[in-house]
Amino acid sequence: MEHKLDNGGVINGTLGSVLGDRGKCAGSVLLDYLKCAPAGVRIQGLKRSFGSHLVLKGIDLDIDPGEIVVILGKSGAGKSVLLRHIIGLENPDAGTIRVAGKDINDPDFNKNHVLAMVFQSSALFNSLTAGDNVGLYLREHKVFKDDARIKEIVSSALELVGLGGKEDVMPSVLSGGMKRRVATARALVMNPDIILFDEPTSGLDPMMTRTIGDLIRDLKYQVEITQIVVTHDIDLTFYVADKIAVLSEGKILQVGTPADIRSSRDQAVQEFISPQFG
């Protein structure tokens, strides 16, 4: 289903369905609340080893504000480790990561910038309802004194990801795809400059993979947010990416647009993106 905007534009996919079904109100409370100020990222000379195993061997990557960048690589290439460095869960042995020009280890960084992450396991809190999971950041940081306002934003965020009315559902009864969408709503209410997705489609069926792909694409147009997606799913990569960075054995082999990557002459890149069967 598609939804026509006032300016004549059209939104398709999950968000289009939601807006088309429910009219303009769906997600609009959240969209009003979001600052929509995407930030760029500059990674320079990032190195990290675990014991004697060098996992990241000097990563250099520039991400422009508002871009969807997919870091593509096979299992064990260091994709998730790179993502954990960008969000600040790991400290590098060498190199820097700057968001909007500021080092992420700068003491003032967290005051001015918010990075949110959607984990591979979704990492929802099983003791909390979907709504409480989404509202956790707002409540813990006392973003609003009024709980009714928090509930309004939570409902709006869940509607935006196509899960309107699921506030009181416990995570244990949600499917894998629904959990990822709740986790995405939870990341969105943080009002982030950047959202990071760690293997957003792993373990999902093709239909749900498409839904998650639609969601990532829709967020770009509706929320104007920088998104970094780590995956080994080639179909998803070419479906959502503005820019692709191919990572292999801790090194970036090539960075470019989907067209650049498709026409790459690098044999390792071609081997990775070409169909494995048939």
Binding site: I87, L89, L136
Partner: protein, 255 residues
Amino acid sequence: MQSVMYFFKVAGGLVGLFTETLYWCKSALSNSEKVVHQLLVIGYQTLPVGALIGLFSGGVLALQAGPALAQFGVEENVGGLVGLSLVKEIGPVMAAILIAGRVGSAMTAEISSMSVYEEIDALKTMDIDPVRYLVMPRFIATVIALPVLVIYMDVIGWFGGALVSAVNPEVKLSIDIYYNNLAQFVDFTAIVNGLLKAMIFGVIISIVCCYVGLKTTGGPREIGRSVTRAVVLSFVLVLVSDYYVTRVLLFLNLD
């Protein structure tokens, strides 16, 4: 050498978590909902079993001590013996073992599962300190609940002792004499000593169980191993600290 390093690493980690938890106690009021929730969980899980353990602990003390005292014609002292034993030693230690086994194991299982399934990382990315959000409420709740549970178990244990002393044909002590004797021996200092021990055990159990949970890595199999590790370490530290706290109290002439 590796074991020595591991010992110091764990000891340092426990002390570090304890100081961090003390720091976050400043947010206890604004997190009172979580603390009350933990108190209810602890109460719900331990009160029925606590009553049973208290009743039979008092009963078995009276069963063992009553006939022995009766041989010397001083069976009226059963009340004091049961009362003091429960208040100073058996009450706090049994309550601590109960809390470590039922509540501490659940704490470790919950937190280690959160570690394994990236929920702790999710908290960090939301700029929510896991020690404030998870450890501090459990710490305060355990430190409050354990002394309350000790009083509850002591009272039920005294009653258990009275019951056994009254019905045991070798002793046949009236309940009045039993409680009068108990009141003579069990003074305020003895009760405070027991409660102080209970608070120390509460600190040990909550910090050990949360620490082991937070440090869990790997897959789901590690959750079970962490629970075993946390409960065993809690038992050992409770019993070792019991000895040293008693020594300190004796040294200070407070026991």
